[in-house]
Symmetry: C2
Subunit: 420 residues, 2 copies
């Protein structure tokens, strides 16, 4: 029943009931963590045979001896496989180390220090270098910019991506607006997929600063929870079509395909961008860990291998997302106090609780032993203007733990809604 339609007696009774349920949770001494988009051990186990893929007796690759220095770009096998994964040519791709976040950080830091390919120079020369942050979004993206002194401006999202009227007006009017963070597929945390129109508008929009870059973190390109996954339009193609081929840096990794800590990462973009970045990386290092790249290509073989591997991930993740969504529906369905995402891929469920209550809900859940991502974390500077978004990460805990944690979360949301 909708909460707003309850009469005084019903409210009193519900309150009592919720207090009792909350007290029971508290007495249970829970210690559950729903904070981080981390693969669970069973997911990691899917790829553990990769550890046996390069042995002392069999370590040579197509390009020769991968134990030695060199190969800034990545090994040919990896360029072949992951250019297909990233939907670019091999010349539009560099294979990095174990962290795509590191590739992003370095791209931002380098743009501040030295500027971008064919650009006007260091972004530090701008009066107030500014990134647009479609929000809720990925806290670590925002933290990269914040740690480097870049100003953050939140932009609202809908089911098609960032609100493009806001974006277009901001980038067209202010040369300080130099970048935008995007998780275009199964967006962190709302799970939405950018529409073709949004991709085209991002690629084609007028920017006051010609050095403007889109940081396109396609972290969940093959991370489907459905048999018929949505298709994301290729933004590099869209940028080329619009005559802005240098506008986008694309990122990806196998962190949630192979191992979160020992995967391989990618940066892709126009040849001009990639040549510029390769040159810088050539000053940073004599080359990436090529042996680990070989482990990956031997294990996955090709895109079919990678895709069927991701189906096994989905088999593990689907019951966890189902448990999350079923609990939300059972406890909150029809109450009108909250809305939540029903993602078909990615790592998160995003809940919008009543305005002004997210921090209280997170605290209540924490007091009863369920750790949630801090309220506001998914917004620039950690400030959710409506104080209503809660990010749920169901991948790591067990289904039973998710059921328990989510029931508590719902109780906390209902309590907060009643008190509101």
């Amino acid at each position: 029943k909708e909460m707003t339609r309850l009469d005084a007696q019903e409210i009193q009774s519900l309150k009592h009931q919720l207090d009792e349920r909350y007290a029971k949770f508290k007495a249970a001494n829970l210690n559950l963590d729903m904070t981080r988009g981390k693969p669970c051990p069973e997911q990691l186990d899917l790829a553990t045979a990769m550890l046996d893929c390069v042995k002392s007796t069999d370590h040579l690759g197509e390009g020769g001896d991968y134990r030695n220095y060199g190969g800034v770009d990545g090994i040919p096998e990896a360029k072949r496989l992951f250019s297909e994964y990233m939907e670019v040519t091999e010349k539009e791709l560099i294979i990095g180390g174990n962290s795509s976040l590191n590739l992003m950080y370095d791209a931002v830091a380098d743009a501040l220090l030295r500027g971008v390919a064919e650009g006007a120079g260091p972004w530090t020369r701008l009066e107030k270098p500014t990134f647009l942050c479609p929000s809720p979004g990925y806290d670590r993206h925002f933290a990269v910019c914040e740690s480097l002194g870049i100003h953050l401006v939140p932009v609202q999202m809908n089911d098609n991506g960032p609100l493009m009227d806001e974006v277009k007006s901001l980038v067209a009017s202010d040369p300080n607006v130099i970048g935008i963070w995007c998780v275009p597929k199964y967006s962190n945390p709302t799970g939405i997929v950018y529409s073709d129109e949004v991709v085209d508008e991002l690629a084609g929009m007028k920017t006051a600063n010609p050095d403007f870059r889109i940081f396109w973190d396609n972290a969940y390109a093959e991370h489907h929870l459905t048999e018929a996954p949505p298709v994301l339009k290729n933004i590099l193609e869209a940028c080329k079509a619009a005559g802005n081929e240098n506008r986008v840096y694309m990122f990806g990794s196998t962190s949630k395909i192979s191992f979160a800590g020992s995967g391989v990462s990618f940066i892709a973009g126009s040849e001009t961008n990639i040549n510029f970045i390769r040159k810088r990386i050539g000053f940073q290092t004599i080359g990436p860990d090529k042996v680990n790249q070989l482990r990956h290509t031997r294990f996955f073989q090709n895109m079919d291998g990678l895709k069927s591997h991701m189906k096994r991930h989905a088999e593990i993740l689907n019951p966890k997302f189902t448990a999350t969504l079923e609990t939300l529906e059972r406890e909150l369905g029809g109450t009108g106090v909250a809305t939540w995402s029903k993602p078909v891929g990615g790592y998160f469920v995003s809940i919008d609780a009543p305005e002004g209550t997210a921090d209280k809900i997170v605290k209540m859940a924490g007091d009863a032993g369920v750790k949630l991502t801090p309220a506001g974390a998914t917004f620039p500077y950690g400030k959710d203007p409506k104080n209503q978004n809660i990010r749920i990460a169901p991948s790591f805990p067990s289904v039973d733990n998710i059921k328990t944690a989510m029931e508590l979360v719902c109780v906390c949301i209902l309590k907060a809604a009643l008190d509101n």
Copy 2:
């Protein structure tokens, strides 16, 4: 016989003889590379069993599941082993990825952008940020600075390290002088080891800029060619004793211990420095490749294991250095046209040819099929003021190839000396 004592006829005859020898080399269509301090395959083979050290059936470490995210500092096993290697406490150390050069680059770039711990702010605020470059030195160190727009000032070296009167006067007088590159043990390329006095002077000298940092690349800490290796004074201890504990960043790696491309790297320094750097790395990445760290600690076990491993490296390298030095002595001994280093560790032999001839010698050798490190490469901006230094890297080629290549190099040196 000393070349200066030859009479006209002897010179003519020597010239004829050298021209004939050179022509023979040219006719042989050699294709040899003496440029890079790269381990040879036999050296890499010493560690190849490491590829079998972490298997799918046996991948858990002391800290749990190393396949997942986290552990910015490094795994406890690696902190224990490599803090001993770096001669610091575990709190004074971070284990990085496969490239210590990357740790150096990032330390410089970050200092430019954000400054250093307890510092006055970004180094870009300086009028002309400047690094001192003891030379000949490591070209990639200089290139890091050059690529980031830092001004380079060469400083001469002797057998004890950089000429400290020069260094002290430069750092004391100019607040733009913000760093110095040092390869303190088996210096690249001269092979010298910094004396205790030089270490103490670097640690204790007055600097006009309190944010001044020593970039101490101890790349060859255990890379001995002798049974009784020299001992390098611990500069972090020296800095602490002098009340300048934040002055030094120490670097190291297993690139020339395990695999050049798939090793692990280290940055060490005061806890203040390391806490500052760890915080930045925490924005760059969710953690290093911990599985590869586990491979290393399982393979080496402890410092005794690492040291005995390095003795096996020496067994491979010693004949190559001997071939290099014997050829130099046989061909150039007593001629007075060149001097060269006789290193007891590291990766290089450094030759000083007659002034003004290094570029010609490198070209002559190249024309006859032996690639040498470009003349000047070991100096800032690639400019050897005396145009006399030639860096020989004997680790990669076979002993026979080294003998051939070095004989040609000597012929070229003699030809250049005669023409001089």
